[in-house]
Symmetry: C2
């Protein structure tokens, strides 16, 4: 499947609702449970997605499209949510993410990207040259990866409750990496 | 986290809506794309969940609660969806799953299970003795595992589009097992 805005945007625009349906109104055990030391809870993941909306995807897109002499991305802080989400409720995070994503997609649509734009280049702090299409594809995959991560973290809260079933519930055996 | 009906049901009852929000109205590439040979697409997974509603979770629960002399479960057919979903639309599968899940949860609630009931026993064709609490916990984890699987199958449709990003998008490197 090739990256195209009209197949990417339908995924990006539904993620806030997916998270809301998956998490809203659940007890703290489901929301705050993680997969062990140095892993993230659903609450942590929503904060991480908020930070991406603020500092990563559309900021980098704008930098690429500016066509300046040095389209070098700032490094992304993967741990900003631990400070930024402190004292907030899940509900307020879900709302914040919804608003930011909506604004970012309005901004993205307003740029009326052509296929030529897809090939424009930015400089990733670790990878070097990347194209706009790669960046926007990564945005989509990043959303889906974190939906999977949230589901996995939740599943693991019942790890000790399923008796012999982990043999067929392999999500319980998978390692926390995304 | 211990299994309790009042923490399990909130997960079970939202899964049909999660799937609808995640999948409804997407193009066929997202719906029918799988992770390679002998793996499942989102469309396949929804059919599999339907078969579970019809033949697995509540059928086994009823068998356990009957207290008959031989509470032996029928083996579950993990591949029934390939025949049963033929010619159907995703929309019709989502609707069917919604209806079945709703009826099953009405049925589950009507049984007014006590903590003593949680310890009642059924005979799994492979595992032998399992408790009702283990069965119902497995139902919850099974839902969450398949939400993660759907997200992963979708993410992989963009695998070749993200350039160097798989290093940080580890969902693209994970193997299809659940």
């Amino acid at each position: 499947m090739k990256f195209e805005l009209n197949t990417a945007i339908p995924i990006l625009e539904r993620t806030p609702t997916v998270l809301r349906v998956l998490l809203q109104g659940l007890s703290e055990e489901w929301i705050q449970g993680n997969e062990g030391k140095d892993t993230w809870s659903p609450f942590d993941v929503v904060g991480h997605l908020i930070h991406g909306e603020k500092t990563d995807w559309m900021v980098r897109t704008a930098l690429i499209l500016e066509n300046g002499p040095n389209p070098a991305f700032e490094p992304f802080d993967r741990f900003a949510q631990f400070e930024n989400s402190k004292g907030k409720t899940l509900e307020s995070l879900l709302e914040e993410f919804e608003g930011l994503r909506k604004d970012n997609l309005t901004d993205l649509r307003s740029k009326k990207l052509s296929s030529d734009d897809y090939e424009r280049i930015g400089i990733h702090p670790e990878f070097g040259e990347v194209t706009l299409a790669q960046l926007l594809s990564a945005w989509v995959v990043h959303d889906l990866g974190h939906i999977a991560q949230i589901s996995r973290a939740m599943a693991k809260q019942y790890k000790n409750e399923v008796g012999p079933w982990p043999k067929y519930l392999t999500i319980l055996n998978s390692t926390p990496k995304e």
